[in-house]
């Protein structure tokens, strides 16, 4: 064996393993881990404790703790390739987002085996496949189900199939030459993007798929999946020469697609948007802000002394509070507003078409609503307060990183000023 012991060989093998391996107890306290696991965990942990898996991932995957806690069986696979997106924050760059895949096996009551692997490349490839898939699916599933149109780069209809007539009630021959945006009447109050906005995104990204209410010619409405795909007729010119539009009547929005969408975009515990979805929406709204120059505001919200709640009353009680906070804040959102859980007890609200005064007004309303939450405990009701900071993309010079940093700075100024308050500059306080 050339003098190398089998223990040394085993250590060499584990030091060099290009996948992160971690063994911990059910509270996340790490007993063993290899260097690859530490390579990912240490930067994510920041100032938090890197020797506890859940604490180290508290900011980027707060849901992991509850996923593990909610798992009933004595042993088995708790999650397989659970995705942790680490693309939000000051380190975010233009390159593909970094995604970690996390698998957790329960080996016994108090023993977890965890793997961590960088799957960023894989996610990028999947994205590409999904694009192709959603497009091919519309072709393969048959034209009866799908209204298909082609439009020019300016949105004028050049052709529409017979299904378009069956689905919307508009004569497919008569609409040729008209602007599709005038024909389609989407619910303006809904979260759905306008057709012109979809076309802009498809022009940039190649395609865009969304769901929303759509009106028929007779005034009735239906839940519609709308796919816009850019066409390029000239190989040497990358600019789209027109777009294909596919409309699909999806009866019942509680369908599998909605479940899947919720799974991918929502925080496991609170049902608020997750970090990754929030980050995507921010980028989309930033593009929109650049194009239409309507205000865009961000509120960052952090619960005060929340660690004490968890330490004193346990995580299940903390979880109830987090759910209630998400519930009351989501109720206050304006149309197109998005409320997301960004970390353990940190939340964010993105407010398109809302200026700083409106954002501060809403932040005050959220602070009041959070202050009114009571969780019944044996020794009397448990209450919580929040500190909030607002910023606009205009103030941040159009940079998302600067927007987050500014709102964060103000959030901490609110904390320093005594907590349970919305940060106001001197100009606003006067």
């Amino acid at each position: 064996m050339n003098g190398t012991s089998s223990e040394e060989q085993l250590l060499e093998f584990l030091y060099a393993c290009p996948v992160g391996l971690i063994e911990c107890d059910r509270a996340g306290e790490i007993a063993m881990m290899n260097p690859h696991a530490m390579q990912h965990l240490l930067p994510l942990a920041g100032p938090r404790d890197s020797s506890n898996l859940f604490k180290a991932l508290e900011e980027h995957a707060p849901e992991l703790r509850s996923i593990v806690a909610d798992y009933g069986p004595a042993t088995g696979k708790i999650c397989d390739g659970h995705r942790i997106f680490v693309d939000l924050g000051p380190g975010r760059r233009a390159q593909a987002p970094k995604v970690l895949g996390c698998t957790v096996m329960k080996l016994g009551v108090d023993r977890l085996m965890v793997t961590l692997a960088d799957i960023s490349e894989q996610v990028v490839q999947e994205e590409r496949l999904r694009q192709a898939d959603s497009w091919f699916a519309t072709l393969v599933d048959g034209t009866n189900e799908y209204a298909a149109l082609t439009i020019t780069a300016d949105g004028l209809i050049t052709s529409a199939n017979a299904c378009f007539t069956r689905q919307t009630g508009y004569d497919c021959a008569a609409v040729t030459g008209r602007n599709l945006a005038d024909v389609l009447d989407t619910d303006p109050a809904g979260a759905a993007l306008r057709l012109s906005e979809q076309v802009k995104i498809a022009g940039r990204d190649g395609w865009h798929l969304q769901e929303g209410w759509q009106r028929r010619a007779d005034g009735g409405r239906y839940w519609c999946q709308r796919l816009v795909v850019a066409r390029s007729d000239h190989a040497d010119d990358p600019r789209p020469s027109g777009f294909s539009v596919i409309l699909r009547d999806v009866p019942g929005r509680e369908g599998a697609a909605e479940d899947m969408r919720r799974l991918l975009t929502c925080d496991h515990l609170t049902g608020a948007s997750n970090r990754r979805h929030f980050s995507q929406i921010m980028e989309r709204e930033q593009t929109h802000w650049r194009e239409v120059r309507q205000p865009l505001s961000l509120i960052l919200l952090d619960l005060d002394h929340f660690k004490t709640v968890n330490d004193t009353h346990g995580h299940p009680v903390g979880d109830i509070l987090l759910r209630r906070v998400a519930e009351v804040c989501t109720m206050l959102l304006p149309p197109r507003g998005v409320f997301a859980r960004l970390g353990g007890e940190e939340f964010g609200a993105l407010l398109p078409r809302r200026d700083n005064d409106q954002a501060i007004g809403l932040a005050e309303a959220m602070r009041t609503a959070i202050g009114a939450i009571e969780v019944d405990m044996p020794r009397g009701p448990l209450t919580v307060s929040a500190s909030l900071g607002c910023a606009t993309l205009d103030e941040a010079g159009g940079s998302i990183d600067a927007l987050i940093a500014l709102a964060d700075e103000r959030l901490y100024a609110a904390k320093r000023a005594g907590r349970n308050r919305v940060y106001r500059s001197d100009a606003h306080a006067a």
Partner: protein, 122 residues
């Protein structure tokens, strides 16, 4: 002189370069010396004891890929890329024998020195 050399905070790149293998092995902290290509050239006995690895298997391999992946991030490896002159002490957590272990790292680099060094103090 001897006191300075044995001191984690004070020892210099020149001290390490001029030292014999036995003297490096006698230091109370781990010493890893590697070239600009990250390939390990020296690995002292203290470090071998802490990591459980035989220096003969570590010498000649790319350090951040094969042995110290936990330092292969912006906190350590990237700094050697970005800072030609480097003398910094960072609190860190290594996985020596797969156990999370709090350590202090001292990162040493100078453009005119043949080797860069990481010193590890438990």
């Amino acid at each position: 002189m001897l006191n300075t050399q044995a001191n984690f905070d004070a020892i210099s790149v020149d001290d390490l370069e001029s030292m014999g293998g036995d003297a490096r092995d006698a230091l109370p902290f781990g010493v890893v010396g590697f070239g600009a290509d990250t390939v390990v050239q020296t690995y002292n006995a203290t470090e071998a004891r802490m990591s459980g690895l035989d220096p003969a298997t570590v010498i000649g391999v790319p350090f951040f890929d094969a042995v110290a992946q936990c330092m292969n991030n912006f906190m350590v490896a990237q700094r050697f890329d970005d800072e030609p002159v480097l003398d910094a002490i960072v609190p860190y957590v290594l996985t020596l024998r797969m156990r999370p272990t709090k350590v202090r790292l001292r990162l040493l680099a100078r453009p005119d020195a043949p080797r860069r060094y990481i010193l590890i103090e438990r």
